[in-house]
Amino acid sequence: MAVDRTASPSPPRKVKWRKWNNILHRDIGYLVVALTLVYGVSGIAVNHTADWNPSYAVEKRALEIGPLAGETRDELVREARERLRLTDEPANTFRPDPETLQLFYTRLTYSIDIPTGKVLVEEVRPRRVLFEFNQLHLNAPKRVWTYIADLYAASLIVVAITGMFVLKGKTGITGRGAWLVGLGLAIPLLYWLVYMYLP
């Protein structure tokens, strides 16, 4: 077939980068919805560890079983179990000092004051949903989860970058977008400067 070499070359095909940018932003955005909720909710919970334990609720109650007379640890444990009506063997026992006996069961601790028979029962319960969220957020599973979390973080970076270029015009990155991105940058930057250099 003859080729007409005198014809002018066709104009370069325009790459529709914004279209692909928006597709990436949309679809990766959908993918990270669940984990963003997990990390966001857990992030708020974990931020306040000074005020509470975000993963466990601890319930305390007091009992009285009367003074224990046993001399050895085994005798004391037997006596305490009888009075507390605990049929199962404790997972462990401990005496932090001569006046205290502790019995450990799954998520339950009985601390008994031997001379008075006062008992403090402490029950530890994982907080529903928050426990699982925090385990993932704090990377408790390790191994494969480390890479899933890395992939999630990389996805967030892609969502953030592509997000800046979704719109064009005065609401895009050359208009209002620039101001909002600048504000978002200024908050951590100012905080860091104040934190680092002010007494």
Binding site: T49, V58, N92, R95, P98, Q102, F104
Partner: protein, 154 residues
């Protein structure tokens, strides 16, 4: 939609069951073969200060705020040792209490003034939601801890 929710529920339950029963590793893998008795460390802290040891004991206390330390029972009555880890590097769960642990770390024997001990006692009481009586502190004291590197709790 029902299919997706079923898959999510099955995965969630499987993960919970898998995590529940098995021994859990925290931090670095254990490397030492020989176990040192906690009572031996407490009897002669100077001998072990700065050395890496592997100890065993029941977890009798866990930091309630950050899970940044556990206390392990000694092989002798009325004795225990704190196993301290860096905040966030290892987080011990509160329900580790009462379980058996094998732990490795560097022994730290440090003498604190009465003032420092009172501050530490008050801080620990606040963390654990308990009370602390400063009059129980009688002068300077050597506190022996293990700066934790790794542990297995079962």
């Amino acid at each position: 939609m029902r299919f997706v929710l079923t898959i999510v529920a099955v995965l969630w339950c499987s993960a919970a069951i898998a995590v529940a029963g098995s021994p859990k590793n925290y931090g670095k893998a254990l490397t030492l073969k020989e176990t040192t008795k906690v009572s031996e460390i407490l009897a002669d802290p100077a001998k072990y200060n700065g050395k890496k040891v592997r100890v065993e004991g029941a977890v009798v206390e866990v930091c309630k705020k950050r899970g940044c330390w556990i206390t392990l029972s000694s092989d002798k009555e009325f004795e225990s040792i704190q196993f301290k880890v860096d905040d966030g590097v290892i987080v011990f769960p509160l329900d580790a209490k009462g379980k058996n642990a094998v732990a490795e770390g560097i022994v730290s024997a440090k003498t604190y003034s009465a003032e420092d001990l009172i501050k530490q006692g008050e801080h620990k009481a606040e963390e654990q939601g308990t009370t602390f009586d400063p009059s129980t502190v009688k002068g300077p004291k050597t506190v022996v801890r293990i700066m934790g590197e790794g542990a297995v709790i079962k």
